[in-house]
Amino acid sequence: MGGTPLLVLGPVLYGWPLRRLRDFYFKIADEAAVDVVLLGEVICTKRTSCSTATWLEIRERLERGGKTVAMSTLALPTERRELESLRALCREWPGLIEANDYATLHLLAGRPHLVGAFINVYHEATLAVLLEEGAVRVCLPPELSLDSVRLLARSAPGRVEVQVFGRLPLALSARCHHARSLGRTRARCRFACRDDPDGLALFTLDGRPFLTINGIQTLSASYLEASFQVTELLASGVGALRILPQDVDMVAVVAAYRALLDGRIGPEEVRAILTRLCPGRTLTGGYLAGRPDPAPAPAAAKG
């Protein structure tokens, strides 16, 4: 079981305005029992409300709160200005950076770094190459089964991270579906995503919550909640558990997983707490629990 597992707060994937981001991280700094916090804009540079200076201020506050801080980066840099901002960030950021695209790996050559869940790591050899090239830790894509995660974690004990909470990031596109849903284009989006701090809900035509639109990203409607798999994950050598921020009381969410890791409560209790904390959301064990239940029927309709 290689040491104490780390609890990691992943980057905010939604288009939260600056004030909200600051308030959120200051509260995390003071009250949340996470070991590592990832900052940065992963989805769209157009919405970046934080300057590097502001991120540094947030970092300082988090470090004073005893957290290790790293900077996450764009998952799908395609346009020239996106690449420019990525290059600038890799040049200027004084700490650890998490790569979510091969472009960032290229820019970080020779520097220790993190690998995020948007880089495809499905088998041991790819994981080994990334670690050999300077990755300190690699967060696996959400699509992996528990069996695959186990094999990967065993091949690199302590170096693998797995998401345990938050919507499943399922797809990226060059097109902004958030803007498209309002008849706009990405170039003239007028920040279509800013009014949806937990993403834009997509239902099937028969009314089941199915997916969530977040700019160029598509996520599940359900929240992943993998507390029932945590013991097995840790036993196979997973070194860090990732919690993705949602529009709920994240300090309380973190506290539930911390209590689980400390052995103060079991997964049933975690599930009960999170069900209370996430009203109106379906919690799923995701791919770790077998096939995810993608569009749960309303309880009454289930027969």
């Binding site: 695209d101 290229h106 495809n120 499905y122 695959s148 097109r175 035509l205 995810p292």
Partner: protein, 333 residues
């Protein structure tokens, strides 16, 4: 394959069966790509793809006609089972394939160390969407050609391609992924199977058609992904082309069912230095392949001679009977 020697765009054609491969060769393919009959490639559909014996014959057939044969090993090797993918690369090499198309870093590094002279092409499934990412793959995995993701505008291609250290190949006709290829797990979220896991998107055994009054309903498993009024043409039911309710309205928030058609853009693609153009459609029959390859080859020749394009109307072959220029169309993003 030197860039300076380009006189015409290389036409790269799909083959899901030996019959389709022969049709592609006869219709004017410069290169043909296919996969083995297992989960090692991104068109792992029942009844498709090549046994090792068929692959050997196919490669020999291509070479007799001066056509290059490329083998796609472009799904992601799964933990504990990477040998299956390694064997696919080794066999492609042993059978004399001119290139292997792959997407996974570990597999590419393995192929490079084992077969240093084997030509590696970076699959669209790697989603290498910018010059830095392509530089990574060139330097660290020795790839010689990149198949560009279907998410670039013409402006992007114009700045990207001349700056690349390797050849580039662009999809010009056939199915269109709305999502960045290799970065989409929608299919496995619903069915447990996906392009990255085992080379399948929206597997046919999960598709269920039904009726609601006059409407045709389309489900993937239990999930209702479309309701089609009578008379409308339905495309193959993928999640990204489905109809859903967003903001209280029924809409297709990702994309309409349509096929990519960039034939009118070939002169521009050629002018910026694109080396090869690719046709999607290994799941298609020989008649489709024959017609499309002939049309694309004709268009490539017209582009090379600087003639105005006079392409046959291929709309009857398209998804939903509609064409799109995808990300090359203004305002697509």
């Amino acid at each position: 394959m030197e860039r300076a020697a380009v006189s015409r765009l290389e036409v790269v054609c799909p083959a899901g069966t030996p019959a389709a491969l022969e049709a592609a060769v006869a219709a004017g393919a410069d290169s043909v790509y296919f996969g083995f009959r297992d989960g090692t490639n991104a068109r792992n559909f029942p009844g498709l793809n090549f046994s090792r014996e068929e692959a050997e014959e196919a490669i020999a057939h291509c070479h007799r006609h001066g056509v290059r044969a490329m083998v796609a090993v472009n799904s992601y090797p799964q933990a504990g089972r990477a040998e299956l993918w390694q064997r696919a690369v080794a066999d492609a090499h042993a059978l004399g394939a001119d290139a292997v198309i792959l997407a996974d870093l570990g597999l590419a590094r393995w192929a490079r160390s084992r077969f240093p002279h084997l030509r590696l092409h970076l699959s669209v499934q790697a989603s290498a969407a910018n010059p830095e990412a392509i530089a990574y793959w060139t330097e660290r995995a020795g790839i010689r050609r990149v198949v560009l993701p279907r998410l670039f505008s013409m402006e992007d291609i114009r700045t990207l391609v001349p700056a690349l250290p390797v050849e580039s190949e662009v999809f010009v006709f056939g199915g269109l992924c709305v999502m960045a290829e290799g970065r989409c797990m929608l299919s496995s979220y619903v069915t447990g199977r996906s392009p990255n896991l085992d080379g399948v998107c929206s597997p046919a055994e999960w598709v269920r058609y039904g009726r609601e009054g006059p409407m045709l309903t389309v489900r993937l498993g239990d999930v209702l992904i479309d309701r089609i009024p009578p008379g409308d043409k339905a495309g193959y039911p993928t999640l990204c082309k489905g109809c859903y309710r967003v903001r209280g309205r029924a809409m297709r928030p990702f994309e309409e069912p349509a096929s990519l058609d960039l034939l009118s853009r070939l002169p521009e693609l050629m002018a910026v230095g694109v080396r090869a153009i690719k046709i999607e459609g290994r799941q298609r029959g020989r008649a489709y392949v024959e017609r499309v390859v002939r049309a694309v080859r004709g268009a490539a020749e017209q582009a090379a001679r600087g003639r105005p394009l006079d392409a046959p109307d291929l709309r009857t072959l398209m998804e939903g009977g509609r064409a799109t220029e995808g990300a090359l169309a203004r305002g697509w993003r």
